[in-house]
Structures are given as structure tokens and as C-alpha cells.
């Protein structure tokens, strides 16, 4: 196993029937000709020590210690961006930690890949099942460890099919192993993923928000399976946004906040409210709003959206923003927030509805037309839609105002361009070696500052910020909140889209909540709190 820096002896001696360390597996061979008998070895502790991870300079996980014990469901909870998924992905070998150690049983393991982690018995059931849709359930289960037949060059489908049925029974799934994955529902596919972990003899199984695409009943089935596995001594890890689920299934709960571990406690020691408090932390303990209450009197309506519809993403959306107001747009991922913003900005066609800027209707919207009219949009996916990674900061910043770079004649004036870029980056405090630095060399927070600079240059009247603090450091987050507040103070009408309820609560004067493409509620002033928003965005009727 060239990928592993692990001394494998201990595992092998504990392992059942030489499941691990077999030459076939060790050489990465795709065919496993050993008969599979007996139960896999269960009862492995899996521990992460001082795990630290950053992306593009933004620290998402910092010095986290966590132990997953056998016979336990250990839940990891926290707000969006707290580092939950990153933590599990490190445990499962999908990401490499920047520093820290992983200890499986008594052995240190390192340099994991998803495949080598599986070989060691660690499996991550992803949020969205990642089965090969046009292959059968059996093929999906055995991919990577196809059983060799008697002739050594054929594949022993019969035994695999039988075994597949047994494993499917184990996870309570009553489907024909011959059926193709695409014919199964999402919930069934989720269970196939679970069976796959068992087929691969994995005894440490992580579930990354497995219930978010499931109905309550389907989630119940999954929990039954998890409970059975727990009873058999499997080591289970679980992430969910739904606290009631966490409280129902967990034996132990770890709370992460801003990439740090806040607490780990037994289920019996925690209650809903205390958990929420630990998750949101500072916000509940008196986190201040970044701006004074908004007074709408005498403020002009800058952006008015009426009955905007783009099936199937969202329908009948209406709202308006006044001069100097910050309107929040809350909602879960997939609730249509980004789609609305992109439709307003002319990046997507709309079925019906109108967008008015200062009372003037924007027809035939395109990004250019919107920018020139005074409406800008800071996209959610900075890497794909925001920055030009291999281009200097200067040209990244001026990219939104190219038509203004050559106001007097056909040619761009380099000196004028530099002046503009300098002013704009000074305003937002981009830290960089020089304007000639490639933007990809900047940290996430500084990249986002540069993006904000780009739109400040366009002298906007209305700005839509889509997850402006995604992938940036905590410090930079604060700066961005204050910048938004300051821009609003200067009269800019802002739309602030975010999954982090706490940041909506501290920056917004008014928040509308989206659920599955519809506006389901509006809060303003003192009503804008994490708790109120939280119940709205999960669709109040489901609670």
C-alpha cells in the first residue's frame, strides 16, 4: 500500500481472516478472490488529533481533537462553515489535514486517500449519494473489489449477487440487486451507500448530512439502520442540521464553531437550547449588530422586484429595498436565493415578473446593462464566477468597469487604470504585495475584498452580495460586515444573501426567508434573530 505511511501489523493481527494486508488488495488489485465469511472486525476507535486545515489561506479547521468510539453514534454539529464536513472528509481521507494526526485503533495513519481509508475500514456516506447511475446495485456495491471466479479471469457474479442481497437486507432495503442505481430513490441510494460501506468491510462509517435529501419517514429508516450498526459495535459519525435528529440518535455530541471544537459531551449531558447556544456562541452572548436601526422614512425605493418567476427554481418572488437599507435573503442551499439574484442580474432568463431600479423598469437585463444602471452582483462561487485566478489584482479589480477605462478615446489608459485600481483596493484594504500580484496568491478574505473593490468602482446604487463571507477568515468576515454597513450608511441599497443566520441577524434591517423557491416570511427590526430565521428557512410547517 504505497499511499499509506501506516505500520499495518497491529491491524492485521486484529483483522478477521486477513481482510486487510492481503497481497491482492495491497497491490491495488481490482479482483478479490478470497471467500468472504464471518463478520468484519468491529470495535475500532478512530481519533483525530489537533487537525488543522485551511483552504486558499482561510482556516476552516483549527486544532480539532475528536474521538469516535465503537458502539457509539458521535454527532458533529455547528453552523454552516463551522468545519463539520471538512472534519469528516479529513477523517475519511478525502482531504489531507495541514497538520495533526489520525489514529486508527493504536496505529497512526497518514497520507490517506478515499481508497486507502476504505481499505483501512473508514467510509464516508456522502450527502448526495455518489453511485454510478447506470450500473446495477451489485456492481455499485462491489466496485473496486469484484470477486474473481473459479477460472481466475471471470467474475463471480453469482456469489456477489447473493452477498449483495444479504447486505441489502442488513440495511433494510428490499430491492433487486440487479436493478440499476438510477431507478432507486435518493433514500434507497443512500442505503445502498450504507450497504457499500459494509460490503467493503468498513467499520468506521461517517454520514455527512445524510438526511437532508430525505423525508422524515425515510430518515427514520436510516436511523434504524444506524442503530443496528451501533448495536453491532460499529463506529459511527453523523452530521445533521436538524437538531432533533442529532438529539434522537447521538450518544455523544461535538460542537464546532468557526473551525474550533467548542465542546464534546455525552448525549445525556446536553439539551437543545444549550447545544444551540454552543453552536452560535458569541452571537447569543451579546454579539452586536454592526449598524444602528434603519429608519425608512424619506428613503427612496431603489430596487423593486415583482412576481419574479423562473421555474423550477423559484416563483412569485416580490420584494423591495430602500436606499441605505440592508435586506437579507435567508434560505437553505437550494431554496432559490442565488437563482433569484442571478435572474435579477440578467444571468438567467425569467418566466415573468419585473425588476425596477429607482422606479425604472429594467428590461432585457444583462450583466452589463445592470452594472451600467447601477446594480451589481457579487457572486457566491468566487473561484468560478468571481476571480480571474491567473490575472493580476489590478485587472481583476477593473474587470467590471472596462467600458470606463477608455473614456476619452478608444485606448485604455494604463495610468488611469492603475489609479482606479489603487483607490478601490485602498478602500477595502486588500492586503497584497502589489497590484501586479496574481489574485490567486491572495487569501480568501483578500480575494473577496478585491471583488468588493471591483464593484465599488462601478459606483453602484444597489448591490447584491451572495454569501460574501464564504471561504474567508473570521477576521475578514467582520471587516466585510462593517464594509456592508458602511456602504449602506452611504446610501447603497444592499441585498445580503447568506446561509449563516447569525450574520444576517447582525447586518440586516429586514430579512425575507426563502423555502423551496418561495418567500415564506419576512422579519424586520428586532424580529431578525437567529431563532426566528432558523424556523422560517426550514419551512415552518415541517416543525
Amino acid at each position: 500500500m504505497p499511499l499509506l505511511l501506516v505500520r499495518n501489523k497491529g491491524l492485521r493481527s486484529q483483522g478477521p481472516a486477513a481482510t486487510r494486508g492481503h497481497p491482492d488488495r495491497a497491490s491495488g488489485g481490482d479482483v478479490d478472490r478470497r471467500p468472504r465469511v464471518g463478520t468484519p472486525r468491529v470495535g475500532t476507535r478512530y481519533e483525530g488529533r489537533s487537525l488543522t486545515k485551511s483552504f486558499d489561506g482561510a482556516t476552516v479547521l483549527s486544532q480539532v481533537d475528536i474521538t469516535f468510539a465503537p458502539g457509539e453514534v458521535h454527532s458533529v454539529v455547528g453552523e454552516n462553515g463551522a468545519g463539520k464536513s471538512t472534519l469528516l472528509k479529513i477523517m475519511a481521507g478525502i482531504y489531507q489535514p495541514d497538520s495533526g494526526q489520525l489514529v486508527l485503533g493504536e496505529e497512526r495513519v497518514g497520507g490517506l486517500s478515499p481508497r486507502s481509508a476504505q481499505q483501512l475500514g473508514v467510509y464516508l456516506v456522502p450527502q448526495e449519494p455518489a453511485l454510478m447511475q447506470s450500473l446495477s446495485v451489485t456492481e455499485n456495491l462491489f466496485v473496486g473489489i469484484l470477486r474473481r471466479g473459479r477460472l481466475h479471469f471471470n467474475v463471480d457474479w453469482r456469489s456477489m449477487k447473493q452477498e449483495a442481497s444479504a447486505y441489502l437486507d442488513r440495511v433494510g432495503l428490499d430491492v433487486d440487486p440487479e436493478v440499476r442505481a438510477e431507478e432507486l430513490s435518493i433514500a434507497q441510494q443512500q442505503l445502498v451507500e450504507c450497504a457499500r460501506a459494509l460490503v467493503h468491510r468498513c467499520t468506521v462509517i461517517y454520514f455527512d448530512e445524510p438526511t437532508s435529501p430525505l423525508t422524515a419517514k425515510e430518515a427514520g429508516t436510516l436511523f434504524e439502520v444506524m442503530k443496528n450498526l451501533r448495536a453491532d459495535g460499529y463506529t459511527l459519525g453523523f452530521i445533521s442540521h436538524r437538531l432533533d435528529e442529532v438529539l434522537a440518535i447521538s450518544d455523544r455530541v461535538t460542537v464546532l464553531r468557526d473551525g474550533k471544537r467548542v465542546s464534546t459531551a455525552l448525549r445525556s449531558e446536553v439539551e437543545g437550547p444549550s447545544l444551540v447556544k454552543a453552536m452560535v456562541g458569541r452571537e447569543l452572548t451579546g454579539r452586536e449588530r454592526v449598524r444602528p436601526p434603519f429608519d425608512a422614512t424619506g428613503r427612496k425605493e431603489m430596487l423593486a422586484v415583482e412576481d419574479l418567476t423562473s421555474e423550477p427554481s423559484f416563483a412569485g418572488v416580490s420584494f423591495s429595498v430602500r436606499e441605505g437599507e440592508v435586506l437579507g435573503l435567508a434560505g437553505l442551499v437550494g431554496s432559490g436565493r442565488t437563482e433569484i439574484a442571478e435572474t435579477i442580474f440578467g444571468l438567467r432568463p425569467s418566466d415573468r415578473g419585473t425588476v425596477r431600479l429607482e422606479g425604472r423598469r429594467l428590461e432585457h437585463r444583462s450583466p452589463r446593462a445592470c452594472i451600467d444602471a447601477g446594480l451589481v452582483y457579487l457572486p457566491e462561487d468566487r473561484a468560478r464566477h468571481g476571480i480571474f485566478a491567473d490575472v493580476e489584482v489590478e485587472r481583476n479589480v477593473t474587470a467590471g468597469v472596462i467600458p470606463h477605462l477608455a473614456r476619452y478615446g478608444p485606448l485604455v489608459k494604463p495610468v488611469a487604470e492603475r489609479d482606479l485600481a489603487k483607490q478601490a483596493t485602498d478602500r477595502t484594504g486588500v492586503r497584497m504585495a502589489s497590484l501586479d500580484t496574481l489574485i490567486k496568491a491572495l487569501s480568501g478574505g483578500n480575494q473577496q475584498r478585491a471583488m468588493l473593490s471591483r464593484w465599488l468602482l462601478a459606483a453602484p446604487k444597489v448591490a447584491i452580495f451572495d454569501e460574501p463571507t464564504r471561504g474567508v477568515d473570521v477576521g475578514a468576515k467582520d471587516d466585510i460586515y462593517h464594509l456592508v454597513a458602511q456602504l449602506a450608511e452611504g446610501g447603497l441599497a444592499c441585498v445580503f444573501i447568506s446561509s449563516e443566520l447569525s450574520e444576517l441577524a447582525i447586518t440586516c434591517d429586514r430579512v425575507i426567508a426563502m423555502y423551496e423557491g418561495h418567500v415564506v416570511g419576512e422579519l424586520s427590526g428586532a424580529e431578525v434573530t437567529d431563532a426566528n430565521l432558523g424556523s422560517l428557512i426550514v419551512g415552518a410547517h415541517t416543525i
Partner: protein
């Protein structure tokens, strides 16, 4: 909207980072490399090949008449490649343009009017390419692979089996073999067009959008660049320049032929790549392309004068291309290492990750 002078984000002076490797510096260094190679090449031929030396300044400049049509095509091709697309129909477009011009002239139309009409036909051809790429979203490689056959066969059909030759003297002198002092007319025309295209890319709004599209098409769209229009017009300009090349080549040989452009396409793409333009778009400078026109052209002509067969010359060109690209990759990679070091120095042990966390 007004902003106060002090920023809440103002976090002191810029970080003291080591001299960062910039795209501009990397590109400029490659342009300089091509220039040095060109000078070295000319020096080598002047020293080692007596026949080449004996041509004198005007003779050597005159050699450029043999390859400047390739250069014209390369200028247009560079625009398209900068956006990340490609145009394979340029060679056929040159043939078509030359033939159309000649056929119109044969029909009794004034030669200069025929030139203008041929250029309009070329623009239309480019527009067809652009339309299929932008409107119907077909990969430019496939679109232009198809249209190249269309343009080529139309050229054959228009030209018939006895393509016209022997154009008016004024035309032949201006487009082909005439000169001002030691400088061939063709070189003057090329220089003017090259400067215009260079300014277009480096200094205009249009060029800025063009390059940004090449770096990240989605981000360009989100930043307000009209991606469709820019792509479309790059194909039109490319078509017109290919058409112009067809007219110059007809003038130079004083005859139009329906297959004359076929041999121009691949050298033109070679020149663009040699000039430092990233075949996937974005990176690259027109000055590099312009220098590469002369580098590849003089290499070819010099070898022929030295007495090598055209077969050998082609082979040497291939070798030079591969070696140059290896050199470029080595230079860029060295720069890459520096960038990584500077990153590490600034962000501790931060790895470069392309993905953002989806916690």
C-alpha cells in the same frame, strides 16, 4: 453613494511579501526570449550561410514576403485562441478570398472593389463560424473543421479549372512584390495591421474583454463582459485577416489558386503558440506572436537558402517548436515554484487548493 476616506477594512500597509511572480512579467519574459532567439537566428544565418549574408538588408527583408501571409492569419488566429477557441477554417478562407477577388475582377469589376468585396465575404465566413459557436454552442474546433471544407469547396467551385492570373500591375505591386526603398510593401502592410491588432488586444476595452474570456469565461460574464458578442467578433476579425492574407498571397504570386491557403493554417497556429499564447486561452501577448512570425519565417527561409530541402526545413521547424515550448514550460514552472514559495512564506504551510470548502 459616498464612501468616507477611511476604511473599516484598512489593515495597515501592504504585506511585505517577496517579489511576486506576475502574469505580466512571465509573458514579457517569453516575448524577450522570442526576440533573443530571433536575433540569434539571424546572426547565425548571417555568419554561417554566405548566401544569406549576401542578400543584404533589402534581400533579407524581402524574404519576409514569403511568410507574411502566414503572419496575417496568425494575427487573427491569435485573437480567437486568446479566447480559448480555435479557427481551423482560416486557410480555406484565404483561398476563398483570393479566388473570389480574382473571379470578380475577371468579371470586369474594378480590382480594388473586388478586394473589398472579397474581404466582406471573408467577414461573412467568420460570422458564420462565430454564429455557430456562440448561438448554437457548438465547439469551435468542430464548427471550423466543417466550415473549412465548405469554404474550400466553394473556392474550388468559383475558381473552376482555370483560376485567374495576371492582375493589374498596381495591385500586384501594392499587395505583392513592390517595395519602398528596401522595405517590401507587404511588410509595411503587415506592420500596420500588426500594430492595430496589437493595440486592439493590449489597449482596448474589446481586447480586455477578449483576454478575460480566455482566462475564465464564466467570471467574464459575471463581470459584465458581453461574452457572446466578443467571441462572435473575434471570429469575424479572424476571417477578415485570413481573407486579407488570401489577397496578399494572390498578389504575391500574381495568381489565385483554390488550394493556396491549405498550407498556411498549421504554420499560423504554430506561430501563435510559439508566440506564447496559451492554447487554452488567456495568457499571451500579441508582441510575442508578431516576433514569432519572423522567427519561424526566417528559420524556414534561411534553411532553404542554406540549401536544405523544404522537407528538412519543416522537420527543423517542428523540432524548434517542441524545444521552444519545453523552454517555455521550464521558464513558467520555475516561476511557479517561486510563486509557491512566496505563498508558503505568507500563509505558513498553506497548500494551494482549487476548491473552496463546502462545510
Amino acid at each position: 453613494m459616498s464612501l468616507s476616506a477611511t476604511s473599516p477594512l484598512g489593515t495597515g500597509p501592504a504585506a511585505k511579501a517577496p517579489r511576486a511572480q506576475t502574469a505580466g512579467r512571465q509573458e514579457a519574459r517569453w516575448v524577450a526570449t522570442v526576440a533573443v532567439l530571433l536575433v540569434a537566428l539571424l546572426a547565425y544565418f548571417c555568419i554561417a550561410v554566405p548566401d544569406f549574408r549576401d542578400l543584404g538588408v533589402s534581400g533579407i527583408l524581402g524574404l519576409s514576403e514569403q511568410f507574411l501571409f502566414t503572419g496575417l492569419i496568425a494575427l487573427g488566429e491569435a485573437l480567437v485562441i486568446l479566447t480559448g477557441e480555435i479557427d481551423l477554417s482560416t486557410g480555406a478562407m484565404s483561398s476563398l478570398s483570393g479566388i473570389v477577388m480574382a473571379a470578380l475582377w475577371q468579371q470586369g469589376i474594378n480590382i480594388w472593389l473586388a478586394v473589398v468585396l472579397a474581404l466582406i465575404i471573408s467577414a461573412l465566413g467568420g460570422a458564420i463560424n462565430g454564429l455557430f459557436v456562440t448561438r448554437f454552442g457548438i465547439a469551435s474546433l468542430l464548427v471550423t473543421l466543417g466550415t473549412q471544407f465548405i469554404f474550400g469547396s466553394v473556392a474550388t467551385a468559383v475558381g473552376g479549372n482555370a483560376p485567374p492570373y495576371n492582375f493589374p500591375k498596381a495591385f500586384v505591386r501594392l499587395a505583392g512584390t513592390g517595395s519602398v526603398g528596401p522595405i517590401p510593401n507587404e511588410l509595411i502592410s503587415f506592420a500596420v495591421i500588426a500594430v492595430v491588432v496589437w493595440l486592439l488586444v493590449a489597449r482596448t476595452r474589446y481586447g480586455r474583454g477578449l483576454v478575460l474570456i480566455g482566462y475564465n469565461r464564466a467570471a467574464a460574464r459575471y463581470a459584465g463582459v458581453n461574452v457572446q458578442r466578443t467571441l462572435f467578433s473575434s471570429f469575424v476579425i479572424c476571417g477578415v485577416l485570413a481573407g486579407a492574407a488570401g489577397i496578399f498571397v494572390s498578389g504575391y504570386y500574381n495568381a489565385a489558386r483554390d488550394d493556396i491557403g491549405n498550407s498556411l493554417l498549421l504554420p499560423a497556429i504554430t506561430v501563435v503558440v510559439l508566440g506564447g499564447v496559451d492554447i487554452f486561452g488567456g495568457k499571451g501577448r500579441m508582441s510575442g506572436v508578431i516576433l514569432a512570425v519572423f522567427l519561424l519565417g526566417f528559420l524556414d527561409q534561411g534553411l532553404l537558402i542554406r540549401g536544405n530541402s523544404s522537407l528538412t526545413a519543416t522537420m527543423v521547424e517542428g523540432i524548434v517548436l517542441v524545444l521552444c515550448l519545453m523552454l517555455k514550460i521550464a521558464l513558467d514552472r520555475r516561476a511557479g515554484v517561486r510563486l509557491k514559495e512566496s505563498l508558503q512564506r505568507r500563509f505558513g504551510s498553506a497548500r494551494r487548493a482549487a476548491v473552496l470548502p463546502d462545510t
